[in-house]
Symmetry: D2
């Protein structure tokens, strides 16, 4: 309960179901006098929205966001910003068939056991559709961070199945439907998705997010370390099963003499730590990786049980993504921006340095 | 700021530096009438404390915890529980040498830049010594969870360097200084540590934590998903660089038809999700893995700079662990217990079912 | 910042300006399976809304609330409830005249100094119009409390200027535009308002709120006492300048032998404490009084200064209430309901007794 | 639950029972580099402690506070500050007689019904002894506010029974055991207390607190208004039954033309608002009044019931105050300082202006 909020000083609270009338949210703690229009939010919403390429779900939502408050004469007033995104292409009737069974790999079973009944229309609140509001709110943070502190928060597809995408060129990321920075891999990605669509299956992915120009000193000792809050925010995204900071799981086999980033007058010799030491940003880029599971909404039939405790099979016929990982890029950027923004304000409150 | 607390309903707040006079904390939200003595807390504190084997730091702290409030006639009263652990083997003078430089891989640099100056005695608040209070507080959660709900939260060393330890026998975990469930690997671990001690180096590790008998329904939609809160809690432990739930990063190359856990009347066919669907526990064991970096406190000399901006080298001569991962086991169990306890109370508040 | 939320487990977050496009809010932590429709919220909104009698502001807002999420098939789902109330009779142009000056007794000056500029349209966020969302959210709490626990939370006009209204008959409260329980005073109130309207002035008021059938045990030791949280909630209502619990300020001249409520097997002999002992409800009715200042929006000219630091006079010509105290009754009931609901859930979480 | 904390950015969490081994607390969010010693905290603790005059309880606690963390080389480090105050004159045996009955006007009954059993030793956590930690924590806030912003927060006894004390001279307040600013009333106060001691009774009081040099702009719109947070903090003090800001309950009979504070180039013409407009400080002194009930610990016998549901009488024989209001002065100052400090940091975080 009270789980629909994130952030202490820069706080986002959201509402909305996949096939309800609207999604929305409230952003609290926005500094005043930031120039802001709906266009600023729409850019990332468009990057996230489905139906934008043949590689993603064909659900056709415009995801048009309206700012209902907190902005006056084109600038933030410092009061809470109300956002609404109306659902336009909702088709609750598509979900009548699944209302009495639990789709494997989905939250149908857990929501129903938790609450006693569930909104079965497209997963209700558990749908990734909810992330549209995160993206809208994150865009406000991104704008502030970039305009005032030159902070850049960007993500890309690092891996899909066995296809690895190296960070060859940031400029390519928004030039292809995969958020892939490595144009040599576009064909391989296209082939992989095509094969998945034919077999009615899906695949996992790895996304990397890099935050640059982060001031030194963000993050709190002990529980609210910057990395801990980032892990929270990133793991809260639907389908994320793992989070790494810097070297991540590769540290298991590393020696201390290898991993520690030595310092000279030119700065750090390396960035194995991923920009965070003792939970506090050290001025280097913050590097994060997340693992996104393959969606369970596939046409390969799966065994499951009904609410009346009978065994059955389920085939997902809605409009879904063969690799939801693709569309996670703007969502992950938004979550990182929200956390960095929150900690920037916290640092300013306590230490006045920023 | 205000970063020294974790949990919404079951909330832990801590204080204390590595070489100050005492560590301590406050546990708020403990249900009344739980039988509780200092002995209940001491068991896990003893598992965590240094100096207990030749494989860990030789700092010799008894880590004796005192309960100062919140318990009357042997039972919790429902009011806040004050805890104190006095530092007895602190040797702040050991740290005079490092007070003017930044140890690579440590928080010296970030604390100083964040706050303007730092408590350099053993890392001050950034020292892993702080985790003693987490373990004491976690023991209260563990006791409640086990006594009232039969919930078991246990961890083990899954990997150190290249040595893999499989979960062969839970009973072995507390029978060796490595928390290793696989006695066939004890020799390899011993050899690895010996070699590290000789070379003055350190190594990373992987810890697995499994929570069993978790009721269905714990975790909240959207931001306070159970996995998100677990990721937060685990990533907040010193030296943790990665967190996985269930299949973790291996999902990247998996198909949806492979990963989703199908259901029959006998329950789930598999547990690739790691016990959490849509952020809510599904009644299966919750499986978590964490990556712990090799400590940077090693005798291999490292390049660094001083506060006066001169290049220098540092050799750590304090009392340190070749593999801090070993001692993370009880800490990680404690953090998981704190999160589960918090969500158990949240679920009871909203849904009355537990 | 992050000041637009109230409650820990049952949490309300709101947005919206007086003359923006809409007001709204999010209710988090609502227990599932509560039957709920917009009609349940509309009843109290209609009691609060202006333009309903000639004694209040003639701004004609329908205050029609829409539930955007969190309710499915007529019942709450346990997820966050999004609310929106569109502004229909907003006339921002009425406020062009005041945009360069600070109305005395209003928040114009403080908002501008705090944020650097302000939304001057009708006071923006500082307008009492914001309270519509509180009333809508409070109606959800009221419904749960009454349906599940038979808790009644009701308020009435206790005093306006020198006219005292005794609690003679609860049934009269909603039968007159003053929320007055004492029909013998209706003429005096009518005369008072008429005179104020003639003189272009306003008057203060006292409202009493009584919460009945409150279970014993709500409220936490120390900072989150039930009375402290009620004081917070009530003082957060626009124009409230004082809060009393039970005997309130009359305790100053009372003896301990007089004030303490003695107990017999029939219960408490009296209720001077107002239903709360040590911050925790004792099962007696909770009695609260609040003082509401006379609105500063009057036609009697007042001295003030402009943004350019020139002296001037202001005459309020918008549509205002001669005694805003009247309309505070449903708002105060809502705030009390929100606090009681939050503490009911807290008590259930920790003590399982409710 | 989780009710033992106050503040969002500057957060105090406390523990301890009246007759347990120690009281203590943790202060989180303290800005770094504030010079701080135990002496800074002791000054206000000595003002609060009992046994300092024949007008107060003869319990003889030294209330010596120890700072356990968060201060290094005489300055705050920015990390959490642990505080402990050991109980030295606890006499739990004094309370054996009351362990089976509920003292009227005390929290015995509500604690027992809430939690199922209670720590009966001197009221356990419900004792005003708990306020010692508030005073210690408040002293840190007071020091920061005064050193950095020249903010003064001071209180005085405004009324005891029928004896009114006017603010004639601040310098007198700490020169007499009543915190009375009006030396002409000292004899009347002495006589009143003497009579109460003879009759074994107690009396209520009114305390006024004034905060000066508060920057314009502290306080948030809607729920976290500065007045709302002050009301929360003040009402959370044991025995407080009413809180007023500025004109308080006298606004009921005032006209808008009278109450609103008009402005000229010389500033506000008056301060009826008590320094807060729209929940935000306006730069004028913040004026607060609180009503403190007469203690129920008196020797006049009172009717009550036992845990076994039998009627009986109780006579309090412990060591108590005829007017607890006297000792509330430093406690109220501390609570106001904590709230102001929290809002100062909040304002700095969002608006950078302070």
């Amino acid at each position: 309960m009270a789980g629909n909020s994130i952030g202490q000083f820069f706080r986002i609270t959201t509402f909305g179901e996949s096939h309800g009338s609207a999604l929305g949210g409230i952003i609290d703690g926005v500094p005043p006098s930031l120039p802001l229009t709906e266009k600023d939010l729409q850019y990332d919403l468009d990057r996230r929205r489905p139906g934008s390429s043949r590689y993603t779900s064909q659900r056709s939502e415009l995801d048009t966001v309206e700012i209902l408050s907190g902005v006056f004469n084109g600038k933030t007033t410092g009061t809470s910003i109300g956002l609404i995104i109306k659902n336009t292409d909702h088709r609750p009737q598509d979900y009548e068939k699944i209302k009495n069974l639990y789709r494997p790999g989905h939250a149908d079973y857990t929501y129903e056991k938790k609450y006693g009944f569930r909104d079965y229309r497209g997963g209700g609140r558990s749908s990734a559709r909810e992330t549209a509001v995160r993206v809208a709110a994150g865009a406000v943070a991104k704008k502030y961070l970039f305009n005032r502190k030159n902070i850049k928060i960007r993500g890309f597809l690092a891996q899909m199945g066995d296809v690895h995408c190296n960070l060859k060129d940031w400029r390519q990321v928004d030039n292809n439907p995969f958020f892939c920075p490595d144009i040599e891999q576009l064909t391989a990605l296209d082939t992989l998705i095509n094969n998945l669509q034919k077999s009615g299956d899906s695949i996992g992915a790895k996304i990397t997010i890099i935050a640059e120009n982060i001031p030194i000193g963000l993050g709190e000792p002990v529980f609210d370390r910057l990395d801990a809050d980032l892990a929270h925010a990133l793991m809260s995204i639907n389908a994320v099963k793992g989070v790494e900071i810097g070297d991540g799981f590769s540290v298991i086999t590393k020696r201390g003499s290898e991993h520690r980033d030595e310092m000279t007058l030119d700065g750090f010799d390396s960035n194995n730590a991923g920009g965070i030491l003792g939970g506090i940003s050290n001025g280097q880029p913050i590097i994060m990786h997340i693992a996104i599971k393959p969606t369970s909404s596939i046409t390969v039939p799966g065994k499951t049980i009904t609410r009346e405790n009978e065994e059955t099979h389920v085939v997902t016929i809605g409009r879904h993504d063969p690799c939801i990982g693709i569309r996670v890029v703007p969502i992950a950027e938004a979550m990182v921006a929200i956390v960095v923004m929150d900690h920037l304000l916290r640092q300013r409150a306590q230490c006045e340095k920023i």
